[in-house]
């Protein structure tokens, strides 16, 4: 049977993730040390796990309200008031989703129709572009620059805006660069957003993991909350990736439409995860801080070691990635990753997997123990020295 003619051309035409190829090679090899994962190495704090067990013991195994358990939405509202500085109404301005990813998908589907252009700064998480395409929209890439620490500047933003531009994706703290947008950076782009009457999808999933001052949300700027959908979740901050729980907060008409799509497609987010998340927000903020401090230690270690071996990196101020330049080796991102894997059995991700402008960089995750990082760094150093000698 010729399935090609049945498959949706849009879905069929999506580019496969550039990350996968490497890990398929790596999976065939023995003794590979990976610095490739994009999730915490910590286990979910015990109190959260215990709450999920309690929920199961009590037999709370039904669907929840489509928008999520009301007590959870109330806790999220309380958290956001404190962390973002915006008051969201738990009843109609917050939606609990299956991970941050679903919330991104819902937001795009609720807003984007064919002909709409969606601005996506890169390097960034690989899902925005395909999600926009599936919604029939046109992704418009903004290539941010290493010299700006991969922040989005007002000029870069302005250049890509057309009359069809509807939505800006704002992925900070950033995966893969570790870059953040500080308050002054946000203040610089806010007038451009207002001038062109754009909406913002602010993906703040790494908001708890910043290392030089607290995360600032664009929604906290004057006049911006009404045009921003904030997306966040429990995966990175509470080390709850497998629980699949995220949320969106924003203007009631947009959230309402997202809830409508969500109720048809998903019904409701996992019930035990939601009960566990209530506990997370109520009692586990100190665990979040402990994990942040541990990441910070590893971050400083990696940045120092990489800079010393000639893989220069700016100081990543958020998430758990370092994005060093590999230009001193004379290799492209993909060559670097492939050779590093073959010669030293260390897996890192080529920067161009996150957009063309990531070329010349690699993403190194520090979601690993110090001992693991030490061994990996030893191997990377041996490899880099060899490359540098060869280019001389």
């Amino acid at each position: 049977m010729d399935y090609e003619k049945y498959l949706s051309p849009v879905a069929n035409g999506l580019k496969p993730s550039g990350i996968r190829r490497f890990f398929d090679i790596a999976a065939e090899m023995d003794h590979v040390i990976s610095l490739g994962v994009g999730e915490p190495d910590f286990k979910t704090p015990w109190a959260i796990r215990q709450e999920a067990v309690r929920t199961l013991e009590k037999g709370q195994t039904w669907y929840t309200a489509n928008a999520g358990l009301l007590p959870l939405r109330q806790e999220i509202a309380r958290y956001l008031k404190n962390a973002v500085g915006v008051e969201y109404h738990p009843k109609d301005e917050i939606l609990v989703s299956v991970g941050g990813s679903e919330a991104i998908d819902l937001c795009v589907r609720a807003l984007v129709q064919p002909g709409d252009e969606v601005l996506i700064p890169q390097p960034s998480f690989v899902c925005y572009d395909p999600i926009v395409q599936l919604a029939g929209g046109t992704p418009v890439i903004i290539q941010t620059k290493a010299e700006n620490q991969f922040r989005l500047t007002p000029q870069e933003l302005e250049e890509k805006i057309t009359p069809s531009t509807k939505l800006l994706v704002l992925p900070y703290p950033n995966n893969p660069t570790g870059g953040v947008m500080k308050k002054e950076d946000l203040e610089a782009i806010a007038p451009v957003i207002e001038k062109h009457d754009l909406l913002v999808l602010s993906d703040e999933i790494y908001s708890e993991l910043t290392y030089s001052g607290k995360h600032v949300s664009i929604a906290s700027l004057p006049g911006m909350a009404q045009r921003t959908v904030v997306i966040n979740g429990f995966s990175k901050s509470f080390a709850m990736t497998g629980w699949r729980l995220g949320y969106a907060a924003g203007p009631a008409p947009i959230i309402g439409l997202m809830v409508k799509i969500h109720q048809y497609a998903i019904m409701s987010a996992p019930t035990m995860s939601q009960y566990a998340a209530v506990e997370a927000l109520k009692s586990c903020m100190s665990s979040v801080e402990e994990m942040r401090q541990e990441y910070n230690l590893r971050r400083r270690y990696l940045v120092d070691a990489l800079n010393k071996m000639g893989l220069s990196c700016f100081e990543p101020e958020g998430a758990f990635y370092v994005f060093p330049s590999i230009q001193s080796t004379g290799l492209t991102s993909e060559e670097f990753c492939e050779k590093l894997l073959q010669k030293e059995r260390v897996a890192v991700v080529p920067g161009n997997a996150f957009g063309e402008c990531g070329e010349g960089h690699v993403r190194i995750s520090y979601s690993y123990s110090i001992n693991h990082l030490k061994e990996a760094l030893k191997r990377i150093q041996r490899f880099v020295r060899q490359c540098q000698e060869e280019t001389l």
Binding site: A26, V37, N175
Partner: protein, 159 residues
């Protein structure tokens, strides 16, 4: 930086001063100075490798011995513990609460060696009332490290 330095050294005593300084946001000189202070004040007692001894030497046997003792007027628990600790065969000695007084970890070649050591050296001590010898059969975790299993990283890669 103080407590964090200790916890890092406990995780890996081979981290260099430069590496520790980068992690703790200080200078290698400050790290060196702090470590020296810890060594001089006796907070850091030494740096040793954690060895899977059964793997390194298949004949090696470890026993944990419960000792009940009677402290006397001129010899308290400390003094008895010191005498026990002086034997080369003894790896560790702890004063315990509960059903017995001293826990003694002894290492030797073969069960017989240890049994003889207990019978001829420990039991015969004046203050020792009774001994109970437990042979260690398998190590699962030692000083925070899993001994018999690799912890596979179950996370999937990418993204």
């Amino acid at each position: 930086m103080k407590d964090k330095l200790l916890s890092l050294l406990q995780q890996n005593a081979r981290l260099t001063e430069e590496e520790l300084a980068a992690m703790l946001n200080t200078t290698p000189e400050a790290v060196a100075k702090q470590m020296e202070e810890y060594e001089q004040s006796g907070i850091i007692r030494g740096y040793q490798a954690i060895i899977d001894e059964e793997k390194a030497d298949q004949d090696l046997v470890t026993a944990i011995i419960e000792l009940r003792v009677t402290p006397k007027k001129d010899m308290g628990f400390d003094a008895i513990a010191q005498i026990v600790a002086n034997f080369d065969e003894v790896d560790s000695v702890y004063l315990m609460s509960g059903g017995y007084d001293l826990a003694v970890v002894v290492k030797g070649k073969g069960f017989k060696d240890i049994a003889m050591f207990v019978a001829t050296r420990l039991s015969t001590l004046d203050s020792v009332l009774s001994t109970k010898t437990h042979f260690l059969l398998s190590r699962y975790k030692e000083r925070g490290l899993f001994m018999n299993r690799e912890e596979p990283d179950q996370r999937s890669e990418g993204f």
